[in-house]
């Protein structure tokens, strides 16, 4: 167990170090999820910015989670570190968790920043913080697994770079994460509920009391269930694509 944890930590550090040593990149990563909050604060005021801030927290982990696709692709096809790891005592579990841990490492400044602002702007009970952490982690896990599936399926360097950005946009900026669900036309609301980030944002806003009407119990259950189900489906996809030893 100790050996596995050490491997996860150092593989994660190996993967994250170039970004951790680049303050500009860390600043940009931190900023991406918060730009909409800033605009909402300027143009719509604090009341609109607070739910958006919760959405930003949920997304700051999810955005970096998707970038694992790039690590998977480049470690396999560009740097070839995966081959070096395979022919060493490192286990596939350590490798996969190490890459996931790397994304967590470079999202830490964004998370620390966002929780600091949230605690300052909107004092809430510990349950609300626990809920936002839990939804963020579930969404991050789903995005990590999606990233693994993409990185393992992509054979093209352009796609490896572009897909996480495009998906980040589709899963983060388009659905009602920064804005309320009821802003969408009624026919689009069920479509938005197919996107896991919508559920993560709705649940987090609910626990912080930021929705116009609290979610009914069945909707809360649906939200958690959908997130867990999405993680399970992505895990299935990723496990089908993953080969430590090539076939």
């Amino acid at each position: 167990m100790k050996k596995t944890l050490r491997e996860i930590y150092f593989i994660g550090l190996f993967d994250a170090l170039p970004l951790l040593r680049d303050p500009m990149m860390l600043f940009i990563i931190t900023l991406i999820a918060f730009l909409p909050v800033l605009f909402l604060f300027i143009f719509a005021g604090g009341q609109a910015a607070l739910p958006a801030l919760v959405g930003a927290i949920v997304l700051s982990l999810a955005f970096v989670g998707l970038t694992v696709a790039q690590s998977v692709y480049f470690n396999k096809h560009w740097f070839r570190f995966q081959d070096i790891y395979v022919a060493s005592p490192v286990s596939p579990i350590s490798y996969a968790l190490g890459l996931a841990f790397a994304t967590f490492l470079y999202s830490l400044p964004a998370l620390a920043f966002s929780f600091a602002i949230l605690a300052f702007a909107l004092p809430a009970p510990p349950l609300a913080y626990a809920a936002v952490i839990a939804t963020s982690l579930l969404l991050w896990l789903a995005m990590i697994l999606m990233g693994f599936t993409l990185g393992l399926s992509t054979k093209n360097v352009k796609r490896a770079n572009a897909l996480p950005q495009v998906l980040g946009f589709v899963l983060g900026f388009l659905p009602p994460v920064y804005y309320p669900l009821d802003r969408l036309p009624p026919f689009l609301q069920p479509v938005a509920l197919l996107i896991p980030s919508t559920h993560a944002a709705q649940l987090s806003k609910h626990y912080f009391g930021l929705l116009t009407a609290p979610l009914p119990p069945e909707q809360i259950l649906l939200g958690w269930g959908y997130l867990l189900g999405f993680v399970a489906v992505m895990a299935l996809f990723a496990s089908r694509r993953a080969h430590w030893v090539d076939p």
Partner: protein, 292 residues
């Protein structure tokens, strides 16, 4: 004990491409064994199967006495690989690469620092330890990867085209490192396109052509396939550019050609057959088939 024992090895990729057919050879401890072959001949496939990175589809392959599938975990703690066209992380220093690999492979903080220093000094990277890889030459970057591979003090090292793109000095540094490895009891299996590299390094070599072993033996034995190990160049002393290149089969024939040419007042130069000549002679048949 043989470090590598391959018998009837075959590999057909899931798409149906046959990469290896009925390959058999052994590699003894302390040997430098070179795999030569054209692009796509199957060298990397063979290396990757032996390095437990790719599944075989036929035959058997044992590394360090263990089957490459059943004993993969045990093999991996005793081998190291530098993959073809591998690159270091451009924004990380040589020191970071090696130290973190030491830590991943289980060395304590102090042991990792000590081992990193010793490896960087051995491969003459210590003076460049804090420069990021982006600021280093191709040769120095390649040596970072070699250092990473050597962290675990492997008994068997797989090097897939380790000197590709390096300048002559950089190549010689890698060769010296390979020699040091075998002197300390290690075994090296390397693939290369450079015939001079194989000639300098290989204790034995295999030429892979279209997934089959076209030759297995020593460098001298390969050269013998290309005609007695010597080439005779006969020229008119006037130097009008006319020259004839003869490839006598044995020593007696060489002597006869030389005597005859000298008696006719021709200028005679003896050139030893190179491994490249041998390579062309051995794989030449299939090159001609391809051209046809």
């Amino acid at each position: 004990m043989d470090v590598i024992d391959v018998r009837g090895l075959g590999k057909t990729y899931p798409g149906g491409t046959v990469a290896l057919r009925d390959v058999s050879f052994r590699v003894a401890r302390g040997e430098v064994f070179c795999l030569l072959g054209r692009n796509g001949a199957g060298k990397t496939t063979l290396l990757r199967i032996l390095a437990t990175q790719l599944r075989r589809t036929a035959g058997s392959a044992a590394v360090l006495g263990q089957d490459v599938d059943a004993g993969a975990t045990s093999i991996r703690s005793r081998i190291a690989v530098v993959p073809q066209e591998a690159r270091p992380q451009m924004m990380m220093s040589a020191y970071d690469h090696v130290r973190l690999m030491c830590r991943i492979r289980g060395l304590s903080k102090e042991a990792a620092e000590k081992r990193t220093r010793s490896l960087l000094e051995e491969l003459e990277l210590w003076d460049h330890r804090d420069k990021i890889a982006a600021d280093l030459s191709g040769g120095l970057r390649q040596r970072i990867l070699l250092c990473m591979a050597l962290v675990g003090e492997p008994e068997l090292v797989f090097l897939d085209e380790p000197t590709i793109g390096l300048d002559p000095l950089g190549r010689r540094k890698v060769w010296a490192m390979v020699r040091r490895l075998t002197k300390s009891g290690g075994t090296v299996l390397l693939t290369t396109h450079y015939m001079d590299e194989a000639e300098r390094l290989a204790d034995r070599l295999a030429i892979v052509e279209k997934g089959r072993l076209a030759f297995l033996g020593t460098v001298d034995a390969a050269k013998a396939r290309a005609g007695g190990g010597m080439r005779v160049v006969v020229e008119h002393p006037g130097g009008n550019g006319e020259r004839e290149v003869l490839e006598p089969k044995d020593d007696a024939e060489i002597l006869a050609v030389v005597q005859k040419s000298l008696s006719q007042g021709l200028r005679v130069t003896l050139q030893p057959t190179s491994l490249e000549d041998a390579f062309i002679a051995i794989v030449g048949g299939s090159i001609e088939e391809d051209a046809a």
